[in-house]
Symmetry: C2
Subunit: 200 residues, 2 copies
DNA sequence: TTGTTTATTGAATATTCATTCAATATAAAT
DNA sequence: ATTTATATTGAATGAATATTCAATAAACAA
């Protein structure tokens, strides 16, 4: 009753779509290809997603959900602790162990849609606001940061993380990658340990 | 002799391609559409770019060239001055006045290719290295930064700029945009004015 | 059990896609 | 002026595209 066929099948289709995007790139995936991948006629896909835009919207929903699914637990682990280990936090924030689960190419392909689709833009924005909000909660646990503007600090931290995500994607050589990564980790550490402006 | 027809026409095609991408999005532009836009048969386009990948490669070359064309003069103005005004530099680095000339949607659509095309990845990387290099030269002019690791500093500055570029693209409301922008500008200013590690 | 809704199929649609080709025009080289 | 190379055209290709439709099967409600 809860897991009615409609819900299951829609999920199945989106996941097939996502797998194909990983392998072939979003721009090369057609409804027919998704059908072949899943062993179902294209008309069945159209039965659940009445046009391609809805399918892409579904994909983006899936990606952002997954993005959050990976990021949130990393942050939430700190919610229990009363004290904050900045080094541990930074390592977690930059841990890219999820790379196996999460495809950056699909993420950025979908990101490019924000410039021409306001629905998608808002979904992306909502996610990023949520992540900043969670980080603020973590930072507030730290007594060293009490009475500091943790909203501001979360903003500054995440902009480095996102810049790093963008920039590091271009770097293949592991040694170079590690070296740049350390720079950005330090940059965030310095932000946390800096004498921060007080909340106004 | 210098501007032979071949060069002119190829440029014309790429620029038409770019205009269409701005309006309709990279994924919706076909060779036939470019032809219609320029009033030439698709076969002529194929005569100059023997397949679509080469056309996309040409577009990316064009975009990166334009990106650099906008950024470099902003930086080079400082090369003459013997002293450095950090506020002025930061304002220039974040000046988005070029938004009219440069389309962010096309930029990120093309960026997404780096994940599946190593040629494109390297072109993007080359550009970013060059920009960091130029910034380092600027920073080296500042006596306050003498004997500091300006390579490192340039890296830290640009990762904020790029994170900001990514993040601010989601924000429509001008007031909110301005407020976030100021945060990131300050963040870079603090980096410049911080006691920086010495060069090893 | 009957009726009704939903799921699934497979064939068909018109359109658009990248690409090819042969023919012609134009320019450059001799 | 004649040859040679390049530019340009327009028509044609088959494959792939998103989407529609009518028919059947399965699930569900009465």
């Amino acid at each position: 009753m809860k897991t009615d066929i409609r819900t299951v099948r829609k999920k199945e289709i989106i996941e097939g779509f996502y797998e194909l995007c990983k392998r072939e790139g979003l721009e090369n995936v057609s409804i027919a290809k998704i059908g072949k991948q899943l062993g179902m006629p294209p008309s069945l896909i159209m039965h659940y997603f009445s046009n391609k835009r809805l399918l892409v919207l579904g994909l983006i929903d899936h990606i952002l959900h997954q993005y959050q699914l990976i990021y949130k637990p990393i942050l939430l682990k700190f919610e229990k602790d009363s004290s904050l280990d900045p080094n541990l936090l930074v390592n977690r924030l930059f841990s890219r162990e999820w790379n196996l689960l999460f495809d950056d190419g699909v993420f950025f392909s979908c990101y490019a849609f924000i410039f021409r689709d306001s629905t998608i833009r808002n979904e992306y924005k909502k996610l990023h606001l949520k992540l900043r909000g969670t980080l603020k909660i973590i930072l507030d646990k730290d007594k060293n940061l009490s009475q500091k503007d943790t909203d501001l600090l979360a903003e500054k931290i995440f902009v480095v993380i996102e810049g790093a995500y963008y920039y590091l994607s271009m770097i293949e050589e592991p040694k170079e990658y590690q070296q740049k990564l350390n720079i950005f980790k330090n940059q965030v550490l310095e932000l946390i340990q800096m004498k921060q402006e007080t909340t106004k």
